[in-house]
Each structure stands twice: as structure tokens, then as C-alpha cells.
């Protein structure tokens, strides 16, 4: 069984030092979020992940889910683990205290999610989807809907889904065919087929709340005509319990490359009773508010896999003896040196580590802004924070999931042939994490979101929330020689990003194809520059204490590695974006 020790020291560092914990605690409802409170929460989460979830990861993968007479059976141990998860209060962590939640900020919630994903990403899908449903109803539901459903979702007794995809319609939701017809009593009758519905049917919760995109009879064409409906598996009774079975059934389970313990269902809605959430035809907007959260959550899945892949690769590299170090034997008493001494192994491990810790830091900074955007008393501060989250969401989703995949693959590589053997679990990380680059909007779609929606929004206002603080950070430290190894590369990458951003925006305005052609490379250029900023900030915190504690020493060394061996990629990315899209456009369709 792979090992997993939650990176609590790093998490503490991010929460208490990097993410300006003072700023977090100044927010309404966050005064109590002190190390004394969060410490035990994170430790308990780490214990739960290691002792309860991790042992079910490989067995769940091997066993998968089964569909029996319309009922989905999750792998052995999952129902009990889910019960323990609910009893531990983990489903209610970020929920509103008014609905039985603990009201903890996203800054803490995201760290817990990472641990769950590291230990058992497939298991994490079930509460993860409930979380999205909770957010959608909390923000767009009626007071009655909130009162009825939110406590159930918070306690985990009921779980949730997001039903978007249909056989003919994935990214382009304008093509949706599922219909909703008013029943005359305020409810609607929903009919249609949905596929790829995670947690669409299972034996963990007593009821499932489906959030379904469908079209009303008078819907305008395209994405402007989509409405959001709440369709429970069992219709709630007067006293709020699960009542009569609704017209929704699981018609099949997908056989997938990874996250095999997560039930990916085809659902058939047949005159199912549903209720409108939010305004008619505004379903996509409602869905998008929670999609932003979900996308950040997917980024955290990538991060979680990257972390566990790194831990197991590093552990293996310490133990596995092969060859001798190029710069002199290290363990003459043993038949060979541990492979850890080989520069290419070190390159792989440090790449995994630098990307993982950098992404975690960027996620923490974004989670803090997310909390500010939800809780701050000043509207301007809320807006500025929300701008930052809007901007970073597509970047983090793509950057963290790419990092997750890269780390999983490098982890297998460190293990050599043994990484390819199922029993060693390294290949499972790769299979599990691969989906994160695809679902919740492929990473290509994230790039289009960044370039098409986020760049130009409000005259580039979202960008200001990144460019201005970063420039201020650089300018304020220009005379600090100790920071030079971090500041110079950051400033260089930042200048490149400025230039490419201006150029891409201008070209994109004239010709959207150009914007699309540069989007993916631009997103990575942006992401790496943002990582450089995060690393420079972490380095600054680590500099004075590198002699005191190995943690800071490693931090500083990793920061150097990032600046020297990863960040230069921005140079080639900038060149690629500026090369333009002509070579993509000119290739004849027929020649593909």
C-alpha cells in the first residue's frame, strides 16, 4: 500500500504565514480561525485520510462500482467510510452554521479536500459533488429550498449531483435537449437523458439531489435558454424525509480508466418532478457560479495526486539501490547507492515538489481571496477579491491538473518498471488524475475561458488584481540582494507576461482565432509566472529562517530550483504565443 502523510507542516506555513492569516481572521466569522482551532482540524483530517480513506483506495479501484437492478453498489468499505466521514463532520466543514455547518472558510476547506484527494480521489467525488449542489442551492435557491435541502446536504445524509452533459452535448451546453414542462403546481416535469453524472446513483446516502440543466418550452435558442432544476431521487415528504421514488433512474455505469470507485452514471429522467432553481433561462449563470468553485476543486484533485505521487516517489528513491552517484559513492557499505543521488532522479523529484508546493501556495492565496470575496464587509474589497478568483480559477484548474498528471507520470518514472505494476499503485495515480485535465471543462476550455472571458472583462480589471500587486512586490524589493535570485527571474517572467498579454489581447480583438491559437500556452505562461510570484513570496518568508529548520531550508532550495529549472519555460511559451496561429490555420482540414 502506498504511504501518505499529509503535508501538515506546509499547510500550516501557508495558512499561518503566507496567506496572511491576519487578513483571514479579520473577516466576519473567521476570528476563531486560529492555529489552535485549525491545527486539530487539519490533524484529524490527516488521520482520517491516512487511516480510513487510504486503505480503500486500491481496493476500491480494483473492485469498482456495480449496477444491480438499477441500484449502484459502491466498493466494499465505502458506505462505512462515508458514514464515518459524515459523522466526523467533514461534509459540513464549510457549510453555513444556519444549516448545521461549521462555517469554516475555504482557506481551511481546500486543505482538507486536498488530503481526501491524495488518499482516495474516487471517494472524494461523492462529498465533492454534494458541495457543488449545496453552493448552487445556497446561492440561487428559494428560502424554502434552502431550508429543506441545505441541512440534509451539509450533514451528508443526502448527496448531490450536477447533471449537465448529454450524449450530444458536452462543452457546448447550448445543445441541451432535456426538457422541462411546467406542471401547473409550481413544479416541472423533467424528461431527458444525462451522461457522465458523477455520484449520480449510489448506496452511500439516503437521497440524491440532482441539479439538472434543462430547457423550458419557451426557451430561447442556445445557452441563453437553459434553466436549472432541482430533481430529488426521492420526493421529500411533508416532514422532509425521502418519500416516493421520482422519475429518475440510472441506466448504466461507465467503465473508466481511473476513479473507478466513483459511480459515473447515465441517468434517464422520465417526467421526473423538479423545481426551478433561480430564474428561468438563467441556469447557466447559476451553474457557472458553482462551476468556478468546482473548477478550483478539480485543481485541488490534481494537487492531491501530485502530493501523494511525490511522497511515494521520494520514499522509493531513498530505498531503491541502483548504481553509484556520479560525484562519488555515497553508501560504500551497501551494494549500490540509493537512486536519490542521481541527478535525473533529483530533477524529477524536485520538479514534482516545486510544482506541488507552488500550486498549493497559489491555491491557498486564491482560497484566501475567495473567502474575502464572500465575507468582507466592503463591497470594493469583495469585488477585488472576486476578480482575482475569477482570473485564477481557469489558470489553477489547468495548471494544477497538468501538474498532477506530470507528477503522476514522473512518479511512475522514478519507480521504473515497478511503477508500471498495478500492485505498486503508482499507475493508479496516473489513471485517476488523468480525468482532472478533462472534466469540469477541459484544460483547453480553461485556456479559452482565460483568454476569451477573463482577459477582456471590464477592460482588463481582473488582470489588475494580479499585475499590480506583483509589480508592487517586485518594486518594493529591488534593493534586497538576498531576494535577487528570486526577484530577477520573477521580474523577467513578469515582463514577458505583460508583453504577451498586451499582444494577445490586441490580436484577439482583431481575430479571435489568434486568441484561441495562443490560449493554452498563454495560460501556462501565466500560471508559471504566478507560481514564480508564489515562490518568491515563500522564499522571502523562508530566507531568515533557513538555518533554523529543515522545512525552511528545503523551501528555499525548492524555490531556487523552480526559478532556475522550471520558470525558464516561460521564455519558450512566450515565443510560441507570439508566433501566432497561422501554422494552425493554414493546415488543410483534409490533410488531418
Amino acid at each position: 500500500m502506498p504511504l501518505y502523510d499529509a503535508p501538515l507542516r506546509d499547510m500550516r506555513f501557508l495558512l499561518d504565514e503566507l496567506a496572511e492569516a491576519g487578513r483571514l481572521r479579520a473577516l466576519p466569522g473567521c476570528a476563531e480561525v486560529t492555529p489552535e482551532l485549525t491545527g486539530p482540524v487539519l490533524e484529524e483530517a490527516a488521520r482520517f485520510a491516512r487511516e480510513v480513506l487510504l486503505p480503500l483506495n486500491q481496493t476500491g479501484d480494483a473492485e469498482g462500482c456495480r449496477l444491480e437492478n438499477g441500484v449502484v453498489r459502491t466498493p466494499a468499505g465505502f458506505p462505512a467510510a462515508y458514514r464515518a466521514f459524515c459523522e466526523g463532520g467533514w461534509t459540513a466543514l464549510g457549510a453555513d452554521p444556519a444549516y448545521g455547518g461549521q462555517g469554516l472558510p475555504r482557506s481551511v476547506g481546500l486543505l482538507v479536500e486536498e488530503m481526501v484527494c491524495s488518499a482516495n480521489m474516487a471517494f472524494g467525488m461523492y462529498p465533492g459533488l454534494s458541495h457543488g449542489a449545496y453552493s448552487a442551492i445556497a446561492r440561487h435557491g428559494t428560502p424554502e429550498q434552502r431550508a429543506l435541502y441545505l441541512p440534509k446536504l451539509a450533514s451528508g445524509r443526502w448527496s448531490g449531483t450536477m447533471c449537465l452533459t448529454e450524449p450530444q452535448c458536452g462543452t457546448d451546453l447550448g445543445l441541451i435537449r432535456t426538457r422541462a414542462v411546467p406542471a401547473g403546481d409550481g413544479s416541472h416535469r423533467i424528461t431527458g437523458a444525462k451522461i457522465f453524472i458523477s455520484a449520480g446513483e449510489h448506496d452511500l446516502a439516503e437521497n440524491i439531489v440532482h441539479l439538472v440543466l434543462a430547457k423550458l418550452p419557451d426557451a430561447p435558442p442556445g445557452t441563453r435558454g437553459i434553466s436549472l432544476f432541482l430533481v430529488p431521487k426521492f420526493l421529500p415528504t411533508e416532514d422532509g424525509g425521502p418519500g416516493a421514488r421520482n422519475g429518475v433512474a440510472c441506466t448504466g455505469l461507465e467503465h473508466k480508466m481511473g476513479i473507478r470507485a466513483s459511480a459515473t452514471c447515465a441517468l434517464a429522467f422520465e417526467e421526473a418532478t423538479g423545481w426551478l432553481v433561480g430564474r428561468p433561462h438563467k441556469g447557466l449563470a447559476a451553474m457557472f457560479t458553482m462551476m468556478n468553485e468546482a473548477r478550483l476543486g478539480v485543481g485541488v484533485q490534481g494537487l492531491g495526486i501530485a502530493e501523494i505521487a511525490y511522497q511515494n516517489a521520494a520514499a522509493y528513491a531513498r530505498e531503491r539501490l541502483q548504481g553509484r552517484a556520479l560525484d562519488g559513492t555515497r553508501a560504500p557499505e551497501r551494494p549500490a547507492d540509493p537512486i536519490l543521488v542521481h541527478p535525473d532522479i533529483r530533477r524529477m523529484l524536485l520538479t514534482m515538489r516545486a510544482m506541488t508546493e507552488g500550486c498549493r501556495a497559489l491555491c491557498a492565496l486564491t482560497a484566501l481571496e475567495h473567502d474575502v470575496s464572500l465575507r468582507h464587509l466592503e463591497p470594493e474589497a469583495r469585488q477585488a477579491a472576486d476578480d482575482f478568483v475569477q482570473l485564477m480559477t481557469p489558470i489553477l484548474k489547468a495548471l494544477c491538473t497538468d501538474a498532477g498528471w506530470e507528477a503522476a507520470v514522473l512518479g511512475m518514472q522514478v519507480w521504473g518498471g515497478h511503477g508500471y505494476i498495478r500492485d505498486n499503485a503508482m499507475e493508479q495515480f496516473a489513471r485517476d488524475v488523468r480525468i482532472t485535465q478533462i472534466y469540469e471543462g477541459t484544460n483547453g476550455i480553461q485556456a479559452l475561458d482565460l483568454v476569451g472571458r477573463k482577459l477582456g472583462a471590464h477592460g482588463g480589471r481582473y488582470l489588475r488584481r494580479f499585475f499590480h500587486p506583483v509589480l508592487a512586490f517586485i518594486e518594493a524589493r529591488q534593493d534586497d540582494p538576498a531576494m535577487e535570485p528570486f526577484l530577477l527571474p520573477l521580474a523577467k517572467a513578469f515582463g514577458r507576461l505583460q508583453q504577451v498579454t498586451a499582444e494577445l489581447a490586441q490580436r484577439g480583438l482583431r481575430d479571435p482565432f489568434e486568441a484561441g491559437a495562443g490560449a493554452s500556452d498563454y495560460l501556462r505562461l501565466f500560471g508559471l509566472t504566478a507560481l514564480a510570484y508564489a515562490w518568491a513570496r515563500m522564499a522571502e518568508l523562508a530566507l531568515p529562517r533557513a538555518g533554523e529548520e529543515a522545512f525552511y531550508r528545503a523551501k528555499l532550495a525548492t524555490a531556487r530550483f523552480f526559478m532556475q529549472r522550471i520558470l525558464p519555460e516561460t521564455s519558450s511559451l512566450a515565443t510560441k504565443v507570439l508566433a501566432g496561429g497561422s501554422s494552425l490555420r493554414e493546415f488543410a482540414d483534409a490533410d488531418f
Binding site: 430561447p220 499585475f467 498586451a502 489581447a505
Partner: protein, 768 residues
Amino acid sequence: MDPIRRVGVIGAGVMGAGIAAQVANAGIPVVLLDIVPGAAEAAVARMLKTEPAPFMHRAAARLVACGDLDRDLALLAECDWICEAIVEQAEAKRALYARLQPVRRPGAILSSNTSTIPLAALTEGMAAEAAAQFLVTHFFNPPRYMRLLELVQGPATRPEVAARIADFADRGLGKTVIACRDRPGFIANRIGGHWLQSAVNHAVDLGLTVEEADAVMGRPFGIPKTGVFGLLDLVGLDLMPHVAASMKAALPADDPYVRAMREHPVILGMIAEGRTGRKGKGGFYARERGPGGERLKRTVDLATGRYRDSEKPVLESLALRDLRALAGHPDRGGRYARAVLLDLLGYAAALVPEVAEGIADVDAAMRLGYNWRYGPFELIDRLGAGWLRAALAAAGRPVPPLLERVGEGGFYRVEAGRLEAFGLDGAYHPVPRPEGVLLLADIKRRSTPLARNGSASLWEIGEGVACLEFHSKMNALDPGTLEMLGTSVAMGRKGAFRALVIHTEGEQFSVGANLGLALFAANIAAWGEIEGLIEQGQKAMRALRDAPFPVVGAPSGMALGGGCEILLHCDAVQAHAESYIGLVEAGVGLIPGWGGCTGLLRRWAEDPRAPQGPMPPVAKAFEAISTAQVAKSAFEAREMRLLRPTDGITFNRDRVLAEAKARALALAEGYAPPPAPAPLHLPGASGRVALGLAVRQQAALGRATPHDLVVCDHLAETLTGGGRDPVDAVTEAELHALERRNFMALLRLPATLARVEHMLETGRPLRN
């Protein structure tokens, strides 16, 4: 031809008073009489408070002599032209004309501003001498701003009479005069009234919402975005039944206009409830307060007459850019477009020659009288005459002979670089341009530019004069514009032309620097690039002024910010009277950075009639720039020193270029560039403190916001010479450096960026 020296207007309603104001704007004394005692005075007083203002400057109001019709009829004895604008009743008008007969001096011209009554009805029983001096002069509302004058002569009208009024209306009042046949509603209201009626009918019949109908009518048709229902709100719903009754009485019963007349219960109900439009309690659109005091936009449901929340129209057909594609789309937007087009174009094509001599007159009348982008025949050309014939035939409608005759050609063509229109004789004839009218559009048809980029072009406009034209969106100034300014100066230096005119024929001269670009650059903290652009702009302005050839600015419409700064650096300006000039940067939290602060300061400092000394010019420039004041006419711009006393003002927009060109040629004789600007004695730190105190008093009175104070402090520092000792003279280079520094400092502030963003997104200033 005898000039018109004095004008009488009878009837001080909206039209009469507005006509009188426009005559006064032209500098001609005018007598305004009304049957109701005191009504004329009241009308003038009201007009001084009206926005948009009927008067171009306050002094113009003093040219209006008010009186009561019964008591002051004798005042009309001195008038060369008496324009009647009383109630639309033929009998009342005829009775008035009879009363004027003994008063009117020999040779004086009498006209009626009727919009529907045929001239023949008005001259019934009129003495032959009077009838020879009579015509219809139909202005459009508001008379200052609408450029169309429909002119109808009777069989007895002397041609010189018509020519004299036409010339005065054209050069003096700035109108495009269209000769109309003596038919009810003349051209514009005949076609426009029928279109309104048809567009309402089809919207109701096809089940469109008010928003959908207006959206289809708006951009796709090239009609102002008020569309049809918004236009009815603007003119007043209650006017519709009146116009309908009047046209019904005058037109044959089988005229398509009469057949289209229909009473809509919903509209009648709205009129009965006083919901007659913007002047009443709201119309098809209304603004209401919600329970929480929030502003709500509401729209009438055409089926029920009740208000509901306004909705953005969502129709697939609305995404179509091509008019023909729109009219062929099966959704209700497409069916609506098709139905209205068939009515409108079929009717218009059948009305030539009944209402006008030619198609170009009809198109001009609709463009200028209804602000359409395309007249009906231009619309037909966009659709194709064949398409329209087939569509009419498919609908079982008659195909007008003129439409048959035009065959596969268009109603317009360009032949040897000249615009020609299809004539009733089946041949094409050049569209005539009055003597003294020079249009860039005509020049562009027959030549290629001397230089061109995406933002501006340089054209040869004859006799060695070049014209620099902007053509970016709203003519906003961007790096391309600056580059073209530089190219123009360089070409002029090499002798490519003798003089340069800067002129555009779009709605606006220039709305100033492209704020969207600036905001984006500021958001990504590209400070070096932005400062470089400011410096480049200052250089371009100085190069313009110091060029070895004369530069004449010829604005029409808005010349704001950078657009104003260009004018400040021209040797002379020949401005359309409807020029709206101002340094508006403070509205977006900035100060002028392309020499505008320096330029306006110098105007005041060098004005011998203005108070002298270091402080007065600073105070004057500070007041105008800090409040982002915009001149509402060329005359106001003169008062604000944005124009010099020697700068010319042209009333007719079509004549601006020709007069600017003449000005440029006159300057080119023995031209020498102006001497290097002398350093200015500015008040320095003490002046800055004084301005700061004054602004803080305004703030204490609630007249200045917190960010206003910040902007004012940067402006004060710039205008007072940046804390220099008052005995030092400050050079232009130093002032330009101050402009740059303070501009850049302001641009870094979040409050400024919020203002810029707000302006770009809402078109309104943010008061933060």
C-alpha cells in the same frame, strides 16, 4: 439675392420657439409672437433651461424680441421672412395670413411650418401677390438639431422666393433643403408615419415584444436604437391619432398609409392613462422604483398593456448582420423585418415622383428627418431590387413601376468616381451637390488616400490641400492615429501638400484617446508603454503646430479630450456650429496629457481681453478642466477660449470642409509657422495652495467628491508650474513634463481606473 435681415415667427410652441432660437443662433434678429399674451417670453425662458439647448449661446436669446400677436403685430413689418408655426388648422392659418396682409412689408416672404396641410389649402383665397411670396417651410423637431428642411412651393410661388429661403436655411440655419411636392405629409412624415404605423401593426400581429421590435428596427435597419416604440415614447403616443386623422383627411382612402391605420386598444388605453411617453408618465418603456427604492426598467406587454420587467431581446435572427438574411429568417424577428420592409420599401418606391423629384431627395429626407442611416432606396440597394420585387410578388403585392424599371441595377451606382442615382427617365444622373459643398465621401469615391492605416487616412482634397480623417471607433485616438499625424506632418514637410485640414464626416470629430486601450495597459501595469504614448502624443501635437504648412481643424460633433487637444494645436479652426468641444479627462480621473493643459492655459494667458497676471489664466483653465466642461456649441467653445475669436463657424455641416479648405488656402499664402511659444509666468506653489483651498470649499459644499480633490491637486500642480517660484517663467517643455508626470500619477490610482472602467461600460462618469 437680398439677404434675410430680420425674421418673424408666429406661434411660440415647441416648433415656433425652436425655429426662432435657431434664427437667433445664426445671429439674425427675430420677432416671436404668440396669440397667448406672455407665451413668447415664457417660451424663451423655458428654452434657456431646456436640454439639449435650443440656443447655442445665451447671447442668442437676446436677439429674440417677444410679443403678443394681437398687440405686437406691427413688429412684423420689418421682417424679411415671416414663418407661421401655429396650430395645425388650415382655417386658422388662413385667417392669420389675412391679418398679416396689411402689416407685411412688400417683398416679405411668408411661410408655414405645417407638417401635414398641403400648400394649396393654405393659399386658398390668397391674393396673387401674397401667394407669389408664400411657401411651406417644414422644420423637424428640435429645429436646432434636425438637419432637414422640407420646402414646398406652390404654382404661384416666385422661384426667387424659394431660392432666397433655401439659401438662408442652408447657409444661415445649416439645414439641408429638400424640395417636396405639395402632397400631404410631404416626404419624411409620409414615409415615416406610414412606417411607424406598419411597424406597430406587425409587432402586435406577429407577437413581438416591444424590445424585440425595437431591436429589429434598430441596428439592422440603420434606424436609431429607439426603434419604433422608443420613438413613439420620444415624440408622444398621443400625437399618433392626431397625425393619423390629419393624414386620413388628406389622403385617398386606398392609400397604403390610410389602410395601415389601425387603433390599438393597448395604445389607446395608455394614452387614456396619460402614459404618453417620456413627457408623460412613461410610455412603452418606463422607469419605476421597486419596493426597496431600487430603479427598475419596465416595458409594456403589448398583449395586456401592463408593465413587466424589461428584457434583453433574445432572437436568433438578431445575430444576423445581413439585412437580407434577417428578412429571410423564419423566427418572428425575421418575419417582422420582412413584413415591415415590404411595407416601407414598397410604399416608398411607389411615392416617387408623387412626393419628390427623385430618389436621392427621398433618401436624404429620411436620413436627415428621421436620423436613419439609410434611406429607403439605399435599403433597397442593400437588399437588391430583384429580391424586393420577388418578395413583393410572393406576398401578392403590387410591384411599383420604378422598382420594375430599375431592373437588376441598383438605385445608386458609382460611375467614374461619382455617385449617381437612378432617374425617372431610366438613366443615372449624378447626385447634385450644392455649390460650396465639399464632401469627403465624394472625394473618397474618386481617389485613393495619400496614406492610410487602421485608424486614420490622409486624402488629397484639391488645390494642394490634404485632409486627415480619423476612422477608428468613435474616432478614438490610438497609436495608429498618432502614427498618422506623424506621417501627415512628414509628408507635408516633403511638400506633398500646401496645407492640411483635419476633418471627419462621422457623427463625432473624436471622442479623445482610446480609453479601452489605456485601461487595459494600466491594468497590466504597462506604465512604461503608457508614458511613451503620452510623450509621443505631445510630440505629435507640437509637430502639428510647428509644421511649415498651415493646419486647419474642422470639427463637427464631439471633439473631446485628445480631439480637443488636436484643435488647440491647429493654426486655425473652422468649426461646425454643432461642435461640442472640451477637455473632459477629469471625468475619468485624469488630466489632459497631450498638451491640453498647456494649450488652454496659453489661450487665456495670451487673450488681451482676459484678466492679466499669473493667476487669472490658471484659474480659468483650472475651472474648465477640473469640471470637465464641454462647450455645447462652437459659440460656447469660443467663450471658453477653446476656439479663438478668429476661428470660423459654419452652420451647414456639408459646408465645413469647403470652408476649412478655403481657410487653409488663405493661410498657405506666405505661411510661416507660429513663433516658438514664450515661457509662461505662473503662480507656483502659492497659486496651487489657493486652488486647493477653493476646491476644498467646493467639497465641503458637496460639489466635489474625494477623488475630484485628488484630480484637482494634480491639475493644480500642473497648471501652476509645479511649485516653481512665480518669478520664473515656465517653458512649454517643462509644462509638458508636468502634464506627463501628473497624468501617470493619476492613472496608477484605483479610483481613476474605476472611473475609466465605469465610463467605458456605462458611458457615464463615476462620481467617486
